[in-house]
């Protein structure tokens, strides 16, 4: 797919390095095919949005990049999924190490039932950091990055579950940032939040895109138009397998869609 436009980080898309790439990917759950022959390249340090109607496989597609589909019995992947030109479905890949590089934020905020501090320190601790001062530094840095520090600095020992929904989601983002990933996958991160909290997360995403590669699945077309640099439109075919209909710079996809189905979807004729 030819892409040629300016990303918000100032670089031309064509100049930007490819961070993630799929090549003719098929995903099956048992005998059911969830994704068919999806090929696309996701640029580094930019926000790529995956849009499409419910059930078209957006989340399944996102979960390819951190092997999250492995948790489902019968899930099977064909084709190549690359991170920095390395096939992450190669047998030699250490999935735990991969997930450290490719973090994920979920639809429903899922803070752990422990303190704010412990939530953020969870990842670093599991990766072997036990020095208290070092952990404190990581926690503060991660909370600041997620623009949550000022709101929680006096209640680090309180339960993460006691925060508001929007704060919980930013806490979950901090938790991911604490392990210093390169890619952040976001699966409809705002669908459980109110409009004010949603805007905060979107601002946060924009600032994070300066250093991280972000892939976001969203139901909300306005959100995709507001925050993303690149947009991919997925749809399901008759057998309910998701296919890639169109992929390109967000500005082009939204103002000048090449495919009739994309146009119908973004103008609200279905979905």
């Amino acid at each position: 797919m030819k892409i040629n436009s300016v990303l918000s980080n100032g670089k031309m898309v064509s100049q930007s390095k490819t961070k993630l790439k799929t090549e003719a990917v098929n995903l099956y759950y048992g005998s059911f095919q969830a994704l068919r022959s999806i090929s696309l390249e996701i640029p580094e340090r930019a926000i790529t949005a995956i849009i499409g109607p419910s059930g078209c496989g957006k989340s399944s597609f996102l979960r390819l990049f951190n092997h999250m589909n492995d948790l489902i019995t019968g899930a099977r992947v064909e084709g190549r999924v690359e991170l920095d030109d390395i096939n992450i479905y190669d047998k030699s890949i250490d999935v735990v190490e991969l997930r450290k590089r490719v973090g994920m934020v979920f639809q429903k905020p899922n803070p752990f039932p422990m303190s704010v501090f412990e939530n953020v320190a969870f990842g670093p601790k599991r990766h072997g950091i036990s020095n208290r001062a070092e952990l404190e530094e990581i926690v503060e840095r991660s909370l600041r990055q997620a623009v949550l520090w000022d709101e929680v600095k006096d209640k680090l020992e309180q339960s993460g579950l006691a925060l508001s929904g929007g704060q919980q989601q930013r806490l979950c983002i901090s938790r991911v940032l604490a392990v210093e990933p390169e890619v952040i996958l976001m699966d409809e991160p705002c669908s459980a939040l109110d409009p004010v909290a949603t805007l905060k997360i979107e601002d946060l995403m924009r600032s994070l895109a300066e250093n991280y590669t972000i892939v976001i699945v969203t139901h909300n077309m306005q959100q995709a138009a507001r925050v993303s640099d690149m947009a991919a439109f997925l749809m399901m075919e008759e057998d309910r397998a998701g296919v890639l209909v169109e992929y390109g710079p967000t500005s082009e996809l939204f103002t000048n869609p090449k495919d009739k189905r994309t146009e119908d979807y973004i103008t609200g004729r279905f979905g």
């Binding site: 999250m68 979920f106 039932p113 969870f122 599991r126």
Partner: protein, 288 residues
């Protein structure tokens, strides 16, 4: 809106509530009656001497200390074996085992273990622990026998407690690069612990009350002293009650009720302890 329709609905609601209350009372009443009966009839027998001395005259005089201590040892021995095994099997079955015919067969077998009559466990223990392993008629054989019986419960409750931990937590943990074991160790188990403890205490209470299995693997009718090692024979409250009630003519009624009361207190105090541990764990989870 018609007033008649509303009052009809309210009437049926009241009828339903009344029925539910009556049913609840019917369920609770026998339990209350039993507890009151035991306390009233057994209170007279309870004395310092009764609780701290060995029995004499075939249990008609003296105390029941060896039976109390024996029951505690049995509960302890049972849980030391059944809890770790049950939790580990529960973790394996929920977190690691693939969903295939073999796993399903194991699950079915564990559920069915709970339905095996307790005397069957006793004979199994006699054959395996007493005779084959040469542990003899002993506290060890009896603890292992009761542990086999308790496993059905500890595995099942561990599995349920682990399964009840939301998938979102596991995914969140895996998504920051924690291994499956780290996820289990640091997130799933702490969450499942209250449920696991509840199951363990129920298993202990049941072990405290069992009579048939220990009959054939080491319980003694009368012992002058306490067991000194796991290979000694022992007394236990339910078995003591059975023998004094069935085989000792002229046994004072109040002494028998006294034994029942002590057994009840032992079991209830363990249940209370479990409840406290559970509440603490829940509190910690909410505050921490």
């Amino acid at each position: 809106m018609r007033a008649g329709a509303v009052s009809k609905r309210q009437l049926s609601q009241r009828t339903a509530f009344s029925l539910l209350i009556v049913a609840t009372i019917i369920v609770v009443l026998p339990v209350l009656a039993i507890v009151i009966q035991i306390i009233v009839s057994g209170a007279d027998a309870i004395s310092w001497e009764f609780l701290t001395q060995a029995p004499s005259q075939a249990g008609k005089a003296g105390g029941i200390l060896p039976a109390i201590v024996g029951t505690f040892y049995l509960m302890l021995g049972t849980i030391i074996v059944a809890l770790p095994l049950g939790v580990m099997a529960g973790i394996y079955l929920t977190e690691y085992a693939r969903d295939n015919w073999f796993t399903r067969a194991i699950n079915l077998a564990i559920v069915n273990l709970a339905g095996v009559p307790s005397i069957v466990y006793g004979l199994f223990g006699l054959g395996v622990f007493v005779l084959m392993f040469h542990f003899g008629m002993s506290l060890l054989s009896a603890s292992l026998t009761l542990a086999c019986q308790a496993l059905a419960m500890t595995v099942t409750t561990s599995r349920e407690a682990i399964l009840a931990v939301p998938r979102e937590y596991r995914e969140g943990s895996l998504a920051v690069g924690a291994t499956r074991w780290q996820t289990i160790r640091h997130l799933v188990l702490p969450q499942a612990l209250p449920g696991i403890i509840t199951g363990a205490v129920f298993a202990m209470s049941r072990a405290a009350g069992e009579t048939a299995p220990i009959l054939v693997v080491g319980a003694a009718f009368l012992l002058p002293g306490l067991p000194q090692s796991p290979f000694d024979q022992f007394m236990a409250l339910p078995y003591h009650l059975y023998t004094v009630a069935a085989h000792v003519p002229g046994m004072p009624k109040s002494t028998m009720w006294g034994v029942v009361l002590v057994l009840l207190v032992v079991v209830l105090s363990f249940n209370v302890l479990a409840t406290i541990i559970r509440l603490r764990a829940r509190q910690r989870r909410l505050n921490a």
